[in-house]
């Protein structure tokens, strides 16, 4: 990879330089410098946690604007199943799909269709017995990036397939070319995305080439227009487009992909902290009796994506209700592809972002110093230096990105006065002066 694309960005004008995002980043990829947050590109996994926690809305996700559609003669929408949970009183998915066509898309292919094909493919791969158990789902691009950054030992457990979106894109493109005669350049294929990680995966797929996805439009951006279009739809206008069932749509929520494998020995964890805990357990070989591990960085699964509109639990309840009107599954692998079509074509390698140095001896020298510096720091993890913790500051110092004097308590510790500091940072030096007086 020459240039690292990230969909998660900073709007420097809005950033107040507070410490909310640095504390929540799962890969410690953010620092505050000169009163602005700074994202360390090599470490960012585009999970979107910082977008979620920033009180000033200074973090945002890059996605395509509607104008982008005008570049193409034939436009296809690939809606994520999470989209279906955004609407009140929806009983028929075709309202949403027809709405997308009314909005200006020439065709709509559901990502849940790709999901059903992938469920079918995974079941076959399990039967073939070639997978290293427990198999970890590779559907969440943020999880894949988290593993290559923090848990490289587990790379071999990832399900070596493309994602539902890729299969949907391939089907949509082939169909369009056959039916219309347009060339690839004339056809625009747009994912309606619940999260920034999936937008990143389009520009920067780690394990295979792009399957022909032109861009992604955020659910939150399309929602207002789509709702208006759907409101105006007459019943007789609604087309029969929906071609996926409970299994495909189930992928929107945590546990859906695992349920689609029709196996009992699985685990489904969601929310970045929980995902990290499970990966830790897995690394300690404590989950070896499981067949499958589904991990979603967002709480609740994709339906909790940071680019969705509706509260995730409300959206989940709506998806639950939609299932009532759906068949179990409408798509099988053999109807579209063979296993060879959806495998990885590039080797997935560990990210060296966390390593101190390439050379072990150099790394050890840096580590010795890091530990020494860490011991000298106050251990408050206050974040005022701009790093998420004292350990992270020590790490930055040995890498040459920060200095010990960046710690506000550094001067105090070498013997200065601390009256000027806010209460939590003052040290009680003269016992006889403070403390006792208050008792009387």
């Amino acid at each position: 990879m020459s240039i690292l694309f990230h969909s998660v960005r900073l709007d420097a004008d809005k950033c107040q330089g507070c410490t909310n995002c640095i504390k929540r980043c799962p890969t410690e990829a953010i620092r505050v410098r000169n009163k602005k947050a700074y994202i360390i590109s090599d470490r960012c996994i585009d999970c979107g946690e910082c977008i979620r926690v920033c009180p000033h809305h200074a973090k945002y996700a890059v996605s395509e604007h509607f104008n982008e559609l005008l570049k193409y003669k034939y436009r296809i929408a690939l809606p994520a199943p999470a989209l279906y949970g955004q609407f009140n009183n929806l009983e028929n998915v075709d309202y949403v799909l027809t709405g997308l066509k009314k909005m200006g898309f020439d065709d709509v292919v559901e990502v849940s269709k790709g999901a059903e094909i992938l469920s079918s493919a995974t079941r076959e791969m399990f039967e073939n017995g070639e997978l290293k158990k427990p198999v970890i789902s590779s559907a969440c691009p943020a999880v894949v990036r988290l593993i290559r950054t923090r848990f490289p030992d587990l790379l071999g457990n990832l399900l070596p397939t493309c994602a539902p979106i890729d299969l949907a894109a391939k089907i949509a493109r082939e169909k369009a070319k056959k039916e219309t005669g347009y060339t690839d350049e004339e056809i625009g294929v747009f994912f309606i995305t619940p999260c920034p990680a999936k937008r990143t995966a389009i520009s920067n797929p780690l394990c295979h080439e792009n399957y022909g996805i032109s861009g992604a439009i955020a659910i939150k951006d399309i929602y207002p227009v789509l709702v208006q279009t759907m409101d105006k739809l007459r019943n007789d206008e609604v087309e029969s487009i929906n071609d996926s069932g409970i299994i495909g749509v189930g992928w929107a929520s945590s546990g859906g992909e695992a349920a689609g494998l029709l196996k009992e020995r699985y685990l489904a964890a969601d929310g970045i902290e929980n995902v990290i805990n499970v990966l830790d357990e897995l690394e300690n070989e404590k989950l070896n009796d499981l067949d499958f591990i589904e991990l979603n960085c967002c709480t609740g699964g994709c339906v909790g994506g940071v680019l969705t509109v509706e509260n995730l639990y409300v959206a989940k309840a709506r998806l639950q209700r939609l299932r009532k009107f759906m068949p179990v599954s409408c798509n099988r692998l053999e109807d579209y592809f063979t296993l060879d079509d959806l495998g990885w074509t590039k080797e997935l390698t560990a990210s060296p972002a966390m390593k101190l140095a390439d050379n072990v001896i150099t790394a050890m020298k840096m580590m010795s110093r890091l530990k020494e510096i860490e011991r000298s720091l106050p251990g408050l993890d206050c974040g005022i230096c701009g790093a998420p913790s004292c350990r992270a500051l020590a790490d930055d110092i040995v890498r040459g990105y920060a200095q010990e004097t960046d710690c506000v308590l550094h001067n105090i510790q070498v013997g200065g006065k601390d009256d000027w500091l806010p209460a939590p940072f003052r040290m009680k030096v003269q016992n006889e002066e403070s403390g006792d007086k208050n008792d009387g």
Partner: protein, 141 residues
């Protein structure tokens, strides 16, 4: 001069929520050093089992870790009850863990056998009523 990194941990007794903190920190440190994943796995599994043993049987203890270019040495010392029959304790499936521990999913009798399995050198010093010390090392290939 040979570069070594020395780490010291105190493992509190009877607190399962904190068991694993020391091995977790060592794992993090080794990852940053760029040590191979297989070595990291062996070290963290062996050390985790040792930590759990300290919590279950010995009311806690202390762990010293020494990382060099050649190997990772771990010394796990406790002042617990000691092991009366080491040969038996080394058998897979043998455990003296009480029932309340077993209901937590521990006490399967795999602790010491696993520690031996995942380390390149394993030595145990134990005396009933005095305590147990494990001397472990994992080679960096």
């Amino acid at each position: 001069m040979e570069e070594t990194i020395k780490l010291h941990y105190v493992v509190p007794g009877d607190d399962f929520t904190r068991a694993g903190a020391a091995s977790g920190d060592v794992k993090h440190t080794l990852k940053q050093l760029g040590v191979s994943p297989a070595v990291i796995r062996n070290v963290s599994i062996a050390m985790y089992e040792g930590e759990i043993n300290m919590v279950i049987h010995a009311g806690g203890g202390e762990i010293d870790v020494e990382i060099s270019e050649k190997d990772i040495k771990m010394t796990l010392a406790d002042k617990g009850p000691g092991i009366a029959n080491v040969e038996l304790a080394m058998k897979e499936g043998y455990s003296t863990a009480p029932d309340n521990i077993r209901t937590l999913g521990f006490g399967a009798g795999m602790g010491l056998p696993n520690i031996k399995k995942y380390t390149d050198s394993f030595r145990i010093e134990t005396q009933v009523g005095v305590g147990t010390t494990l001397f472990l090392s994992v080679n960096i290939a």
